[in-house]
Point group: C2
Chain length 478, copies 2
């Protein structure tokens, strides 16, 4: 009889203590058809790891509330932080197959084929940012699975479970779909495990994890730390943010007439989006003192506060720093029919993190695609996404800074950091131009808004939001 | 015409910047019947505060998944951290009234009258731990509310909202219930606001908040910081943890026979609890090296891993430190039908925090009642709670420490901190005895388990869990 190898179990514990100490986040995925033994396999794994940094994440059938969020939301919410281990008992693959075959889309226009690309992109961005993903498929013969089922049925308290399994088998062609994924030769490969002999299966799983983590730890040890290079043009000039600011303005009187009208319109749109279950995502970037906060304030002034959220970025907490850089935003995406304002956003990766050298060149250059993929996944789940860059010229910024320092009611708005950022004006400008050029897409377009005249900028942004939403709502009606 | 007072708005911003800087968490509750104007009132407040540290928390009708958690869970989940402001648009009061009048209990045996005491206890423990709670009741005449309703009905996109309001009025006697709470003269008083004149109402609200926060800030400035006193007996002796360890043991053979039997029984109980939607909460405390982890491991060994969670305490993160000490556990309570293991727990407040002086004497002494109230609220929501204290004698601990240091496979289990704690053996013992005496209740009893013989302790704990659950399941059946 094959026994569970104590030596393997010890080495597994040792390796995960090592990845824990080295701040490597690990995600172990266990997929398999009903009654294949994946429950016992994942339990053996769970028992072998330290509960202090292990999380067992079971993917269960979606609830109504889950369907109001992007497809990947649940997995973003459960992302392990640096050094932690997730055991995913069924994962985005099981969820994908069940959504696809049951046609679950919560009335919003989700293209299930696109979701499959979103999953690959999700794995890629995690992989590129240091997450170690290990995927198991428990591929047990039908005969053995039938034996498991029969045994379950014998137990009166577990009979319902057998029935659930049988229903699952009837509803979904899980195996065929999974074989499709496995044959695709995905970037992160699958390890197939036969559960005919339980202990042998466990040993195989342990060994695979140990080998993968050992290779990873070795790689960390031998890879030279990439030098952070700023990589900016010496004399950077850009036309992108230059406007004829004398023309891009609005009179006080016109502003007073138009603003309330647009705000009421915006309120009306909020309720229409709600009725059509369309989530709206609004991203604001721009120079310091460009008026982002005031701009957002005018847009939300007449909205129903129960229907929108604001994510206003300040310095990340230690928990946020221990996650993928998209995490603190991905977990704050509005649910369907709601509006999410992002006062600064995930673009910090290619702006402040690039300029200040918090991200390496490799990290911020790959981030363009990662961010586009992320926005695409939101779009694929039905979201309308608009991105605004409020542009200010350098003299106007100086005036606003000085005004803030003089005016007692505004002093709190200006800090040393604002002055430090101003000293890097050209770098920020270049990073902003690269960002806009690299990430301006049809599904999540950038709008550069001249910001020297605050009132003009507020009216412009409101108009753009209203126009984009009306277009989507019209399409929805036809 | 009365206008919104700009000066008040500025001072409100200033005061909340001050409480933010001083790390004071603020909760502003806005209750009021449908169409009373509380939506516009809370929006005005939301607009006046800095979005960076303000959260708008709307209490909506419960979803199925909400009903699987304790009544207060949603509010624990949304607790502001130090320096943040929550605007509660409808709160536990609205939720209470709706649960009560609709008879919502998700099949579990919730006594709604007890819940009302839980709410008071919730406010008290927050208040005692530095949370500033400000409660508004928007008390608008029926005539004015009818006007609001009529206006809503005129707008085609908002008509459904008017209908929702009318349905609410029909279903719930909200006003009468709220007047009951207001007349009770609760510890944290209500401010009533009439919305007949919108701007006057807003000014009143702003002024009340400013006055409250000013008083609080003044109090913080003038209150002397309490000296942390250890307050331990010089020569502490206890009988509570003394056992005849020669008798409290089990042979290897008996262990091998009994353990698998109890584990299977436990697995059966897990599924029965699941079917009856009863949550089970298991708390483990005890001396270092008393065998808590191994004990939990034996209990969960045969359980279905999708049906339990483990909260294993390590040092709190900065986010956890910025919340009420119960927060990181309260947000991890198992949902109905699930089991939650707590490997160390909220009792850290009266153990390590007392011994190490992280909590002041006032804080840890008041914590006994706070903890009892918290456990009572879990019990009131249908949970079975068992608490185990694994007791070890001092010599046995030394042996285990030394064994851990010698054995390469166990070295990671022993740290300098363990030795430091051992040096404070008597203090921990006294704190443990006080804890057990103060918090041993009928709804959440302590079991002191002799731990010198690990095998014996494991069998004992399993037996106690099984017996308690079988009793509850039997009552359920009758």
């Amino acid at each position: 009889m094959i026994e569970i190898d104590d030596e393997l179990e010890f080495r597994l514990g040792e390796m995960t203590r090592k990845t824990h100490d080295m701040n490597i986040p690990v995600m172990i995925i266990i997929e398999g058809p009903p009654a294949s033994g994946k429950s016992r396999l994942s339990n053996a794994l769970y028992m072998a790891l330290d509960a202090k940094y292990t999380d067992f994440v079971a993917t269960r059938p979606p609830r109504d509330i889950d369907l109001r969020y992007p497809f990947m939301q649940r997995f973003w919410n459960h992302l392990p932080k640096a050094g932690d281990v997730n055991i995913h008992f069924r994962s985005w693959y099981a969820q994908y197959i069940e959504y696809k075959e049951a046609g679950i889309t919560d009335n919003i226009d989700v293209d299930i084929k696109e979701i499959s690309a979103d999953m690959e992109n999700f794995e890629r961005t995690l992989d590129q940012n240091g997450y170690e993903i290990i995927k198991f498929y428990v591929n047990t013969s039908e005969e053995v699975r039938q034996k498991h089922l029969d045994k379950l049925k014998e137990n009166p308290t577990l009979k319902w479970k057998a029935e659930e399994f049988e229903e699952h088998l009837e509803l979904f062609d899980y195996e065929k779909e999974m074989q499709g994924f496995i044959n695709q030769k995905q970037q992160i490969p699958w390890t197939e495990i036969d559960f005919e002999n339980k202990n042998e299966a466990i040993n195989t799983m342990f060994k695979t994890i140990i080998d993968t983590l050992e290779a990873r730890v070795e790689k960390e040890r031998t890879t030279a730390v990439e030098r952070i290079v700023s990589d900016f043009t010496k004399y950077f000039e850009s036309e992108l943010f230059t406007f004829d600011f004398d023309k891009e303005k609005i009179s006080k009187k016109d502003y007073k007439d138009i603003l309330p009208e647009l705000q009421l319109k915006m309120r009306d749109i909020q309720f229409q989006l709600y009725q059509h279950k369309i989530p709206l995502i609004l991203v604001y970037e721009g120079m310091d003192a460009a008026g982002k906060g005031g701009n957002i304030k005018r847009t939300r002034q007449r909205l129903d506060p129960t229907g929108y959220t604001i994510n206003a970025v300040s310095a990340p907490s230690d928990i946020e720093l221990a996650h993928h850089y998209l995490w603190r935003f991905a977990t704050d995406i509005p649910r369907s029919g709601h509006i999410g304002f992002f006062d600064r956003s995930w673009y910090g990766r290619v702006l402040v993190e690039r300029v200040e050298g918090f991200a390496s060149q490799k990290e911020w250059t790959q981030a363009y695609d990662e961010i586009k993929d992320f926005e695409k996944s939101l779009y694929n789940s039905g979201a309308v996404i608009l991105k605004f860059f409020l542009s200010l010229d350098k003299d106007e910024q100086l005036e606003r800074f000085e005004e803030r320092e003089k005016n007692i009611e505004k002093q709190w708005k200006i800090t040393k950091e604002d002055w430090r950022n101003r000293a890097k004006w050209d770098e920020y400008l270049e990073a902003s131009e690269d960002m806009i050029k690299e990430t301006d897409t049809g599904y999540a377009p950038w709008h550069i808004i001249p910001g020297n005249n605050k009132k003009y900028a507020r009216i412009e942004v409101l108009k753009k939001i209203i126009a984009a939403c009306e277009k989507v709502l019209n399409d929805e009606r036809n």
